[in-house]
């Protein structure tokens, strides 16, 4: 699925059936090429839902077990948040130094969070080519053949 379809969806605790927050931004770990957390809005100071804490991603809500799932970032997620993690809107650069466009969206595998595609203003790039995401750009391995669908 595309992240844009998940954005702004309510994060609902299944134990209390209450809305805790709304999905804001996505935290992608370029090393594992997968979504590791969601930034959420409207929950006060704690604003991260770690990927393993997500119980379900449905058409109307993202569910978590309880309000504890919205918490401070830990471990790798905290490391990523301290840097320039935001991939949406970032320029996408191939490792040959040529720019491919701006990142508009990412497509991911809902069960694992694996990024399957990076969608840019210049076209789409397979997720497995993702190498990094830093202060200047998200970097992907340059591939010879363009993807056609």
């Amino acid at each position: 699925m595309l992240f844009i379809d998940m954005r702004s969806r309510p994060v609902v605790a299944t134990s209390s059936a209450t809305t805790l927050a709304r999905v804001g931004d996505v935290v992608v770990d370029p090393r594992s090429r997968s979504i590791v957390a969601l930034r959420v809005q409207g929950s006060g100071s704690d604003d991260v839902v770690h990927w393993p804490d997500i119980a379900g991603i449905g058409p109307d809500a993202v569910t978590v077990a309880s309000a504890d799932a919205v918490r401070d970032a830990e471990g790798r997620v905290a490391d990523l948040l301290s840097g320039s993690y935001g991939i949406l809107g970032k320029r996408l650069l191939a490792d040959n130094g040529d720019e491919l466009g701006r990142v508009m969206d990412i497509r991911f595998e809902p069960t694992t969070g694996a990024v399957t595609e990076v969608i840019t203003t210049g076209g789409r790039v397979e997720g497995h080519r993702l190498m990094g995401c830093g202060s200047y750009a998200a970097v992907v391995r340059a591939e010879d053949a363009p993807v056609q669908t």
Partner: protein, 350 residues
């Protein structure tokens, strides 16, 4: 939610935009497009013949609509684009994403399948450069070997394509140095090359941020992963080194800017204003940009001249062969062609 052909009953929806598509009108147009997408058409035509202008909001709206229609198995086509609108889409770099061809249904009969829009197509990363290079390759003798035979030496980026990619050293200045992690850790300040053998040794660097100031670090060519049109790529921060580690021999790294270009016969052809580097190969200096003397009339014009291998280069003058005057060109495209014939001539002579 994969599209099912059973429920697809609307073959074509057409929307005509008769006002400039900008932030002011985007809400209205967006509503229309929304309705159109909801009908799940096979083909959505957006007629922009009467639309004078599309701004960033409009571009985003069009791309978003295209994406949604396409995901649903349909196709969106922009029709009636004026040259100005085409230009806007080009600048926004979405001209290859949005289909702007003729109406599929109208022309399907006399149209080969290969031209049918297959939705979003990834733009070749090297698109612009490749086009330029392909253009300049037309000027080359098709029978002549590639300018850089792919033997030995490391070759940054696309090792499988032995392409000549020539840039003015000046144009590299200011290009960011980016790691595989996506961080811009410096930018190119100057190109340092060995005057003795005419190859680029590396780059001096400047800081990227105000707080960093001038960085005392340098980047060796052998540590460069690739020089692209937008960035110089390195694997990681460790590639930057201090000036003391920069293995330039004392005689090397001579500054040839301002040097006189002199023929073997003793005619001054001009003064060097820039160095032309082949970044597609082993970063050799392949030529010079000069401001000409009377020997290459009209005097005072900018010209590009190939470097003669094996001839003398000092901080004072560069010696080229007498015949090189026949290979002077005024632009890079011409230079690439000229260089190729120059090289085949040079190798034929020796």
């Amino acid at each position: 939610m994969p599209p099912s052909s059973q429920t697809r009953t609307t073959p074509l929806v057409e929307i005509r935009v008769s006002e400039p598509l900008d932030a002011r009108t985007a809400v209205d147009v967006s509503g229309l497009l929304e309705d159109a997408v909801a009908q799940r058409p096979m083909q959505l035509i957006v007629d922009l013949a009467e639309c004078e202008y599309v701004d960033a909001t409009g571009v985003i709206l069009l791309v978003d609509t295209h994406r949604r229609v396409w995901q649903d198995g349909g196709r969106m086509t922009l029709r009636g684009l004026s040259p100005r609108l085409r230009r806007i889409l080009e600048i926004a770099r979405v001209d290859r994403v949005l289909h702007t061809g003729p109406l599929l249904a109208e022309t399907a009969a006399n149209r080969p399948d290969s031209e049918v829009d297959h939705g979003m197509v990834v733009v070749d990363p090297a698109d612009r450069g490749a086009r330029r290079i392909a253009h300049s390759r037309h000027g080359r003798d098709p029978g002549s070997p590639p300018a850089r035979p792919g033997t030995g030496g490391r070759r940054p980026a696309r090792a499988e394509e032995p392409m000549t990619r020539i840039v003015c050293a000046r144009d590299l200045a200011g290009r960011p140095v980016v790691t595989f992690d996506g961080d811009d850790i410096a930018q190119i300040k100057d190109v340092v090359y060995a005057a003795t053998n005419g190859s680029v040794i590396g780059f001096t660097l400047a800081g990227r941020k105000l707080l960093s100031g001038p960085k005392p670090q340098m980047l060796r060519w052998k540590d460069v992963h690739a020089v692209g049109r937008h960035a110089v790529m390195v694997t990681d921060t460790e590639r930057l080194i201090g000036p003391s580690d920069f293995d330039t021999d004392p005689a090397g790294g001579a500054d040839v800017l301002g040097d006189t270009v002199l023929t073997v016969g003793g005619t001054a052809l001009g003064t060097v204003t820039d160095v032309l580097v082949d970044i597609g190969g082993d970063a050799d200096v392949v030529g010079f940009e000069i401001v000409t003397t009377d020997a290459l009339p009209p005097a005072g014009r900018r010209a590009l001249i190939p470097r003669t291998s094996g001839s003398g280069v000092s901080g004072e003058a560069i010696v080229v062969s007498d015949t090189s005057t026949g290979f002077v060109t005024s632009d890079l495209a011409g230079f690439v062609a000229s260089l190729s014939s120059w090289r085949s001539r040079e190798s034929g002579v020796s």
